[in-house]
């Protein structure tokens, strides 16, 4: 059988019709076999080209070529159209209720004291400080004597200290993180810029605002030409970083054996002055015990309670929540939210 141009155009016509009428991918597959497969008119026409004379082949070849590409293009378009339709159907059937409770990953959290300690440490590291730490069970000499609090000084009765048996071991649970300052000064030459966070102990009964085990952060700067204005500026920066840029601080004259002049620092927050901690210029007696030349260096120190800071910032009204280890409390802070 020989094929002529009319055969080819006829086959194109019927192929396009079949493609157009294919309802789904299965039907389209059959159409492909029939109209583009080995036994289709177009395939046969292609095969026939080989036996034709050169002149005839060129002419008929063009006809067959364009016929094939026309049918293929129509087929590809239809295929794509049917595939999209199929996908839409399948994906729509696979729809779920995404509002179902999502799979819960185990929820833990950092204690807010850790979060606050990290935040304060980072803040002061940014100002060029180091973080210094020391033992909680401490020598009385480092906790008291070196800080200008000699035995029988009334200041020692200001703090109810936990003593270790036997009393001549002269060990106490540190009443403040100040012995870390002493250790830092004994072990390093100035300039010194340190922040000392840590657990501290005083024999207060646990109630809504007191706990015998609490956390402090202290700062110590020893350098040439350090002034009380530097102390005030540092406290301003600290308070504003923790409580917000509009927070104001004020210093009130006070007394601590280890600072002179001494001050209480308050901050103005939510419409009232709140006591925050103590501070002052490091007493020359303390500097001298630590081997620092007071004719060359001066310094300031400050210290505040972290629990109180947390309570004010987060509106926590009962100390029990901070110390009792209830997982609901810790979890509410997650792994680092303020």
């Amino acid at each position: 059988m020989t094929l002529n141009v009319a055969d080819v155009t006829g086959s194109v016509k019927s192929a396009l019709l079949a493609i157009k009428e294919a309802k789904d991918l299965a039907a389209l597959k059959i159409v492909k076999t029939e109209h583009l497969g080995d036994k289709s008119v177009l395939s046969k026409a292609s095969q026939a080209l080989g036996k034709m004379a050169a002149e005839e082949r060129a002419e008929f070849g063009k006809v067959v070529g364009s016929a094939k590409s026309e049918v293929s293009a129509a087929f590809d378009a239809k295929l794509s159209e049917l595939e999209i339709a199929r996908d839409q159907k399948v994906l729509s059937e696979e729809r779920v209720d995404v509002s179902l409770p999502a799979s819960k990953f185990p929820k833990g959290g950092l204690h807010p004291l850790t979060i606050l300690t990290n935040e304060i440490s980072d803040l002061f590291i940014g100002l060029g400080y180091r973080v210094a730490e020391g033992p909680e069970l401490e020598a009385e000499w480092l906790n008291f004597d070196a800080l200008n609090i000699p035995a029988d000084h009334p200041a020692r009765t200001m703090q109810d200290t936990f003593f270790i048996e036997p009393l001549d071991s002269k060990l106490v649970l540190r009443t403040h993180t100040s012995p870390v300052q002493i250790r830092t000064m004994l072990e390093n030459k100035p300039p010194i810029y340190v922040i000392c966070p840590g657990r501290t102990y005083r024999a207060d009964e646990l109630d809504a605002t007191h706990t015998p085990v609490f956390s402090q952060v202290e700062g110590l700067v020893i350098d040439r030409g350090i002034t009380m204005a530097d102390l005030k500026g540092t406290l301003d920066y600290f308070a504003q970083s923790i409580f917000g840029p509009d927070v104001k601080t004020r210093l009130r004259p006070s007394f601590f054996p280890f600072t002179e002049p001494s001050a209480e620092v308050d901050f103005f927050f939510n419409g009232r002055w709140i006591e925050w901690g103590g501070c002052g210029m490091v007493n020359p007696k303390v500097l001298e015990v630590c081997g620092i030349d007071t004719s060359e260096f001066s310094g300031f120190a400050f210290g505040m309670g972290l629990e109180r800071t947390l309570m004010v910032r987060h509106g926590i009204t009962d100390m029990h929540d901070i110390v009792e280890g209830d997982i609901r409390f810790t979890r509410s802070f997650g792994i680092g939210s303020r």
């Binding site: 204690h111 180091r130 033992p135 020598a139 004597d145 009334p154 060990l171 956390s215």
Partner: protein
């Protein structure tokens, strides 16, 4: 200290209309916290009058004594009232509230029928007028102190402002009207006159008459005065102006002699003690108790004396615990006519020690241990006997004194130091002015080279910064500007600080909640958990918060277990906790602490001794899971948390520090003896992990199979910074191998044997199956081994050789047989 503003006004013209806010700020600005302001008389309205008792009818047949009393209130007729008190007699002057009066507590007085009579008012007690706590009877006024019908509100000076001022320990001088009036006047910029300067002490010259005094221990006091009077009328009433001031300061009026000593103490700040001079054997000596063993104090307590206690003694025995409390034998009574009055400037430490030793904190010791103005021994004793002469009809006998007052030395002072230290410009004129206001004498050797002589009452002004504080207080701390230091030496966190953070983040991120437990433990609970040896050697507190928890923790688990129990009690089901904290083990021989001075920096040897007196306090991280890590949900159950997960967490923590651990089984309490792993790094135990002992769990009521792990963070080294090889991109060859071994062979041993035999090209080895139902106690363990060569694709032949070699190694080491 409580101070009535009316008394302060005697020495400084505080404006009548000063607002409470300004008053409080005036104190706060110069360093005195105000603990309360009491507006006395604010909630009291009259008529409140002086009345004379004209008749008393005892009404019988009631549960308690009731009197029907006729009063002359100056109204021309007798007014009758019902009264439940009996501490008055005919002719006494009392205070009557008449109908229409309103007493504190909104207590309106009106005529009323009671006990079958009409009561036309009320006779008042001090507490009913809220002028003192006294309620043992009604107020009986001194004879002839006022006319009947006089306004009692004015007579009793009820309307007053009483400020409760907190005084810091360095300001003993401010525990007085003299001191606080000076501070308030300075703060408000007002004139001030010193009450001490109004006393003419020379009027009572030293002579050889009366009781003589000597000082045996001159370290205990610098100066003492004893002044003697006779013909004192001990039963004379204390005038109202004096008793009312004493009451407003929060003390009680007792008797004229005692009231005078208290009044002078409140006014000037010098504690005084009055002895009945007839009870003194010959003379007085200020000495240490030594061999004197006991003293009976004023409160009738027989007290054991420490040989170091300072006493005031006569020829026979101790008469007073000096500066703390007088003795009963020489107490002034209503029969006393001769008084020896003692005033001394004691060494504060001596008094503080005595006071603490005897647990006696008195108004006197509180002042003396803070240091009293040495000039006051002479002045205050003179002031007191002048009052005894004036109010008690006494005659002056004589005075004796011993010692010299010692004052703070002159301070050399660079006047520019104030500006330099405060970081703000304070003019030299201002510096001088402020130093003078606080009482200093200023002598200028040049413009900046000054010599400052502190006032007698300021023994605390020794160094230049002490003077800076005085100037700063007086100019106001708000003058200090806000600047930041410019130097810095920052070096970021230390490796241990990074470690603490990353471990906490890891555990919190994986579902653990961080807690901070108190480090106080109960020794019975610790024993019950099975802690023995070093892990049970604790430090004991001399003064624990509760006898139940006297010891410091040696391990984190006791605290974590009790916190888990508390959470469970509050309804939590799946509890995962962790804590990072120090533990305290009493296992080292510690250096005893000798007395180390603070006058200079301790030398190397001394410093090392101090450091070695403090035990090493290792840092632990502990985790506890009671229940599951995570919760069951609609789409499935959360996996169980088993011993394997506990060990996994411990191992991950160790790995995160760059250390490599090996695992072996352990029977460490309080873990399950068959389900506890000991993890070692370089042969040293650094962690324990696994399932907790079922008995421990059951006793605490925690979920079965609760697990825990503890890693000693401070025992882990800090490996050098990792050097990494370029990653190999050649294809990997994977070989599985299943081996049958005896059940006693641990998987880690088998894995190590395989690893040893597999050669250098082994990249990883992972256990993927374990089957223990083979019988004969045998188990099958199947591993996936991944091989990779840096330079070529491995052939199947080569890889199977490595597998064979690994199997041979395992057979040799563990008797492993390749499973068909």
């Amino acid at each position: 200290m409580k101070i009535p503003l009316s008394w302060i006004r005697e020495f400084s013209p505080i404006p009548q209309d000063i607002s409470l806010e300004n008053l409080e700020n005036a104190f706060v600005n110069v360093g005195f916290e105000v603990e309360g302001i009491d507006l006395q008389g604010r909630d009291l309205t009259g008529p409140l009058v002086v009345a004379r008792v004209e008749s008393i009818e005892e009404l019988t047949g009631n549960k308690k004594a009731i009197r029907y009393v006729g009063l002359d209130c100056g109204e021309g007729s007798t007014r009758f009232v019902i009264c439940g008190a009996t501490n008055f007699a005919l002719g006494d002057l009392v205070v009557a509230a008449l109908p229409g009066a309103v007493l504190p507590g909104d207590f309106a007085i009106s005529a009323r029928e009671t006990y079958g009579k009409t009561s036309n008012g009320m006779i008042c007690s001090a507490r009913e007028l809220r002028i003192s706590e006294e309620h043992s009877g009604i107020i009986v006024l001194p004879v002839d102190c006022a006319k009947v019908g006089a306004n009692a509100v004015e007579l009793l000076e009820i309307n007053d402002v009483v400020v409760d001022v907190a005084v810091n320990p360095d300001r003993g001088y401010a525990l007085s009207i003299r001191g606080l009036a000076r501070e308030l006047a300075a703060s408000l910029g007002l004139k001030y006159s010193d009450p001490a300067q109004k006393v003419n002490a020379k009027e009572f010259a030293i002579n050889a008459k009366g009781i003589q005094v000597s000082v045996e221990d001159k370290t205990a006091l610098s100066i003492v005065y004893i002044r003697t009077i006779s013909d004192f009328n001990a039963s004379a009433a204390t005038p109202l102006w004096m008793s009312r001031r004493i009451e407003k300061c929060g003390m009680r009026s007792i008797s004229l002699a005692v009231d005078i000593t208290n009044y002078v103490m409140l006014e000037l700040g010098q504690p005084l003690h009055a002895f009945d001079a007839t009870m003194i054997d010959t003379s007085l000596v200020m000495r240490r108790a030594g061999n004197t063993k006991t003293i009976k104090t004023l409160d009738n307590q027989e007290r054991k004396l420490d040989s170091d206690d300072l006493v005031v003694a006569d020829k026979s025995t101790a008469l007073a615990l000096a500066g703390v409390m007088g003795g009963a034998s020489s107490e002034v009574t209503d029969k006393t006519t001769q008084i020896a009055l003692e005033a001394a400037r004691f060494d504060p430490t001596t008094i503080a020690k005595s006071s603490r030793r005897h647990k006696l904190s008195s108004e006197a010791s509180r002042r003396l241990e803070r240091g009293v103005d040495p000039s006051l021994a002479e002045i205050s004793s003179a002031r007191a006997i002048a009052l005894m002469i004036e109010l008690g009809g006494a005659k002056y006998v004589g005075s004796s004194s011993s010692g010299e007052p010692k004052y703070a030395p002159v301070v050399s002072f660079d006047s520019n130091f104030v500006s330099k230290y405060l970081g703000t410009e304070v003019s030299l004129a201002e510096v001088e002015e402020k130093l003078k206001i606080v009482g200093c004498d200023v002598a200028k050797k040049s413009a900046t080279d000054w010599e400052i002589d502190p006032p007698s009452w300021r023994s605390d002004l020794l160094l230049a910064p002490d003077l800076v504080e005085e100037v700063a207080r007086m100019i106001g701390y708000e003058r200090i500007p806000s600047t930041l230091p410019t130097g810095k030496i920052g070096a970021g966190l230390t490796p241990m600080q990074y470690r603490k953070r990353s471990v906490a983040d890891f555990l919190a991120g994986n579902g653990f909640s961080e807690v901070y437990n108190y480090p106080f433990v109960n020794p019975d609970f610790v024993a019950q958990l099975g802690f023995v040896g070093d892990r049970a050697k604790s430090f004991r507190l001399a003064n624990p918060m509760s006898e139940e928890f006297p010891d410091l923790r040696t391990h984190l688990l006791p605290g974590l277990l009790l916190t888990a129990v508390r959470n469970q009690g509050r309804g939590a089901k799946d509890i995962a906790l962790f804590e990072i904290g120090s533990v305290f083990r009493n296992t080292e021989k510690l250096e005893g602490q000798s007395v180390v001075g603070t006058d200079r920096v301790p030398d190397e040897v001394t410093r090392a001794k101090i450091y070695k007196s403090v035990p090493y306090q290792p840092l632990h991280v502990g985790g506890l899971v009671a229940g599951k890590l995570g919760s069951d949900g609609w789409n499935g159950k959360a996996p169980d948390f088993t011993w394997a997960e506990a060990i996994g967490f411990a191992r991950s923590i160790i790995e995160s520090t760059g250390n490599v651990s090996t695992t072996s089984s352990s029977d460490f309490a309080p873990w399950h003896p068959g389900r506890c792993a000991e993890l070692q790094v370089d042969g040293k135990a650094v962690a324990h992990a696994g399932e907790l002992h079922p008995r421990v769990i059951a006793e605490l009521g925690l979920p079965e199979r609760s697990c825990a792990f503890v890693v000693v963070l401070s025992a882990l080294g800090f490996p050098e910074t990792k050097k990494l090889k370029t990653l190999i991109t050649m294809p990997a060859a994977i070989q599985d191998i299943a081996l049958v071994v005896d059940g006693s062979v641990s998987s880690s041993t088998l894995e190590a044997a395989l690893r040893a035999g597999a050669g250098d090209l082994l990249e990883s080895i992972t256990l993927f199956d374990r089957y223990d139902k083979l019988g004969d106690g045998k188990v099958s363990l199947a591993f996936t081994m991944v091989f990779r060569a840096p330079d070529r694709t491995l052939t199947a032949e080569e890889v199977s050789q490595y597998r064979e070699a690994a199997a041979t190694s395992a057979a040799k080491a563990c008797g492993a047989v390749v499973r068909a």
